[in-house]
């Protein structure tokens, strides 16, 4: 991009660094929308390659909707779209009903995973539908016609649920040790999620507090939460999820750009 620098950052991503290099300009605070109400948050997924302003890329969007089912259990619907380099799109949607307590272990869920080509046409043999449930000790799931059943020891949750867990953990304080199943698909054992109520930054005019995640197969993640209990920013090692009003529109632009480039 003309006029932009490509300097090595030399320091890990943080809210301050993201602000300095201009990536938080479109972040907004949903404070007027009320605490605890059903919410729909759209995040721009941004990847950092260790550079300053240039040499980094948007990857897509993540939309997280939180509400409650008729029994008062947390209901989380997450849709992740990744615009691949050649115009293909990966789209995953999960609908999870979770236990009320922490760490919001999913008890029933469905996941749809699909790919589209650079023309936007779904690729028929690259789709998957998953349905599953867990009674606390055994996870039963079906991927298409393939059934899978496995025992789980100890608490577990899904990475999408951490958008709900992080604010609640900050309210109560403390930490959780659990397994985390990413996208209800890939299990990461020995995860440690910790509230850091005293670790604060100011971003977009508001004070944000931090919840961290570390463990096997991850470099530290930081969930930055505002006063309404909304995750405004997730820094996931060399990626960031930024709460932005036009995150989905930006993803559509990316899809058009990358599809056009391939075509």
């Amino acid at each position: 991009m003309p006029g932009k620098s490509k300097q090595i950052l030399g320091h890990q991503l943080s809210p301050e660094i993201l602000e300095r290099i201009g990536e938080t300009r479109s972040v907004y605070l949903p404070s007027a929308e009320g605490t605890g109400a059903p919410s729909r948050r759209a995040y721009r997924i941004w990847t950092n390659h260790g550079y300053d302003e240039a040499g980094n890329f948007d990857a897509g969007s993540l939309v997280v909707e939180t509400s409650h089912d008729e029994r008062g259990r947390p209901l989380i619907v997450a849709t992740q779209r990744i615009a691949l380099w050649d115009g293909m799109i990966s789209e995953i949607t999960g609908c999870l009903i979770c236990q009320c307590g922490l760490p919001a272990m999913p008890v029933e869920w469905t996941v749809q995973s699909r790919f589209t080509d650079s023309g936007g046409v779904e690729i028929p043999d690259l789709g998957r539908q998953q349905a599953g449930d867990c009674d606390g000790a055994v996870i039963r799931e079906k991927n298409g016609e393939r059934a899978r059943k496995r025992r789980v020891e100890g608490p577990w949750t899904c990475d999408w649920c951490l958008f709900d867990v992080a604010p609640r953990l900050l309210e109560g304080g403390g930490d959780i040790r659990c397994r985390i199943i990413e996208r209800m698909f890939l299990e990461r054992p020995k995860q440690h999620v910790i509230a850091h109520p005293d670790l604060k930054v100011r971003l977009a005019g508001a004070e944000l507090r931090c919840v961290s995640r570390s463990g096997t197969g991850v470099l530290p993640h930081q969930y930055w939460v505002d006063a309404t209990g909304t995750v405004v920013l997730l820094i996931a090692y060399n990626m960031a999820y930024l709460l932005e009003r036009d995150a989905e529109a930006r993803c559509e632009e990316l899809i058009a750009e990358r599809g056009g480039a391939q075509g």
């Binding site: 990847t47 550079y51 691949l84 380099w85 050649d86 995953i92 690259l126 789709g127 998957r128 298409g144």
Partner: protein, 430 residues
């Protein structure tokens, strides 16, 4: 062959050193996926990248030819026209369904245009944290829906642990300012550079790397090692999930799984990071084969030198296909099936920076030669950390002469692509 051709899952990681698999030796890392492969099959402990740089290494895996022969002597070149590649060969000679997901990099990193393959997923940027999960998703979705018919050759080209390059950029200048974890590994035994007679090329490379430019202290270097192992666990989790799907879909018995990496990572040994030189952590890579009915289980072969050049002919051997003319590697099937213990091979070779930098690895020695720079000789049995250059040691003069002869023999046998410029070619009088 009396039984049906096997499916093949070829997993390529990026920048994974050989000593990163928990079961085989490494502490401080959890790799249930790699461990599962190692338990189920044969792990070659003396496997070398044929060129410790992404594109050249990959070109050799898919052709069985040296990188100066494929014409991919540096990143960003395409494979020489007319040279058969794995996907084309398996389609044509084995009627395989050939699928490619993830990083290709010969020359484009992610592309729909891979000779002989249907591409089922690409990636984004050069980044594993976002691309690798998408890759696993695509491969798994295809496997869940696969109803059989033709055997498949599926390549899963993972990007991790290559994101360590980004980590190095994100942590070059923050020595002493990080909340260091408590469980960081110790420094490697060969953390110090070799005392003397090191190739100038390697010394000058070190001076431009992160340890030197960032003024790292030992603690920060240990943090780098700790972080590298988290990258290893990232990709292990992806591979482990893919192996789950192979089992869930009933394909385990009839699938050959092979895993390697294009090259390793400096890992702070000799105070080096990254790649593109011939010390062992950068050049020696994981090389695992498993298939319950075809390949012996739980075997570590640390004696036979092997290389990327062996992948193509070995997969041909396991699939009962002819091996293309001119392929330089060996079919390792006799070792994998337990029919043989030793290969009829005296050495493997590797090159770097065109073919200006050369490595010859015999069972005991490693010989490095850099055009216009010098030579190094290491006794890998007595000095596996490569800390003592034996070039001037009269006790090893005979070995030195022998390895110079091997290099000459190797160089003279090569059919170098005319696209490789003269200045990137080895010359014995340089």
């Amino acid at each position: 062959m009396s039984e049906a051709r096997p499916n093949i899952l070829f997993v390529i990681t990026d920048q994974q050193s050989a000593d990163t698999i928990a079961l085989l030796r490494k502490t401080g890392v959890s790799t249930p996926g790699f461990d599962r492969l190692a338990r189920r099959g044969v792990s070659f402990g003396c496997c070398y990248s044929s060129n410790p740089l992404c594109s050249p290494a990959r070109s050799t895996m898919f052709t069985g030819r040296a990188s100066c022969e494929t014409g991919v002597y540096v990143n960003g070149k395409g494979i020489r026209e007319g040279m058969p590649t794995m996907g084309e060969w398996f389609r044509e000679h084995g009627d395989y369904e050939t699928l490619y997901a993830g990083k290709w990099h010969v020359p484009a990193c992610y592309t729909q245009d891979i000779p002989g393959f249907r591409v089922i997923s690409t990636g984004i940027g050069h980044q594993g944290t976002v691309s690798d999960p998408v890759l696993t998703e695509a491969c798994a979705n295809w496997l869940y829906g696969n109803t059989g018919g033709k055997p498949f050759l599926m390549v899963a080209g993972y990007m991790q642990p290559h994101d360590i390059c980004e980590w190095l950029r994100l942590n070059r200048d923050n020595t002493g300012t990080v909340d260091y974890p408590e469980d960081m590994p110790p420094l490697p035994d060969n953390y110090e550079p070799i005392p003397d007679d090191e190739l100038d090329m390697i010394s000058s490379m070190r001076a431009n790397q992160e340890l030197a430019r960032g003024g790292w202290d030992e603690k920060h270097c240990r943090y780098y090692l700790w972080s590298y192992l988290r990258h290893i666990e990232m990709v292990d989790g992806e591979v482990n999930r893919l192996l789950d799907v192979i089992e869930e879909t009933g394909q385990l018995e009839n699938t050959v799984v092979v895993l390697t990496s294009d090259h390793g990572e400096g890992c702070g040994r000799h105070q080096m990071t990254r790649k593109n030189f011939h010390y062992d952590d950068v050049t020696r890579v994981p090389f695992l084969f498993s298939s319950p009915r075809r390949i012996v289980e739980n075997k570590i072969d640390a004696e036979n030198p092997t290389s990327h050049l062996d992948i193509f002919p070995t997969l041909c051997g396991l699939a009962d296909l002819p091996i293309p003319e001119g392929v330089r590697g060996c079919d390792l099937t006799p070792l994998l099936t337990g029919r043989a213990k030793r290969l009829d091979r005296r050495y493997v070779a590797s090159e770097v920076r065109g073919n200006l930098g050369q490595m010859i690895r015999s069972e005991r020695y490693k010989y490095l030669a850099e055009a216009g720079d010098g030579e190094m000789l290491f006794d890998m049995q007595d000095d596996p950390g490569e800390m003592k250059n034996l070039l001037k040691d009269p006790a090893h003069a005979e070995a030195l002469a022998e390895h110079r002869g091997m290099l000459k023999e190797w160089i003279e046998s090569l059919d170098i692509d005319p696209r490789v410029p003269e200045e990137a070619r080895w010359a014995f009088d340089s």
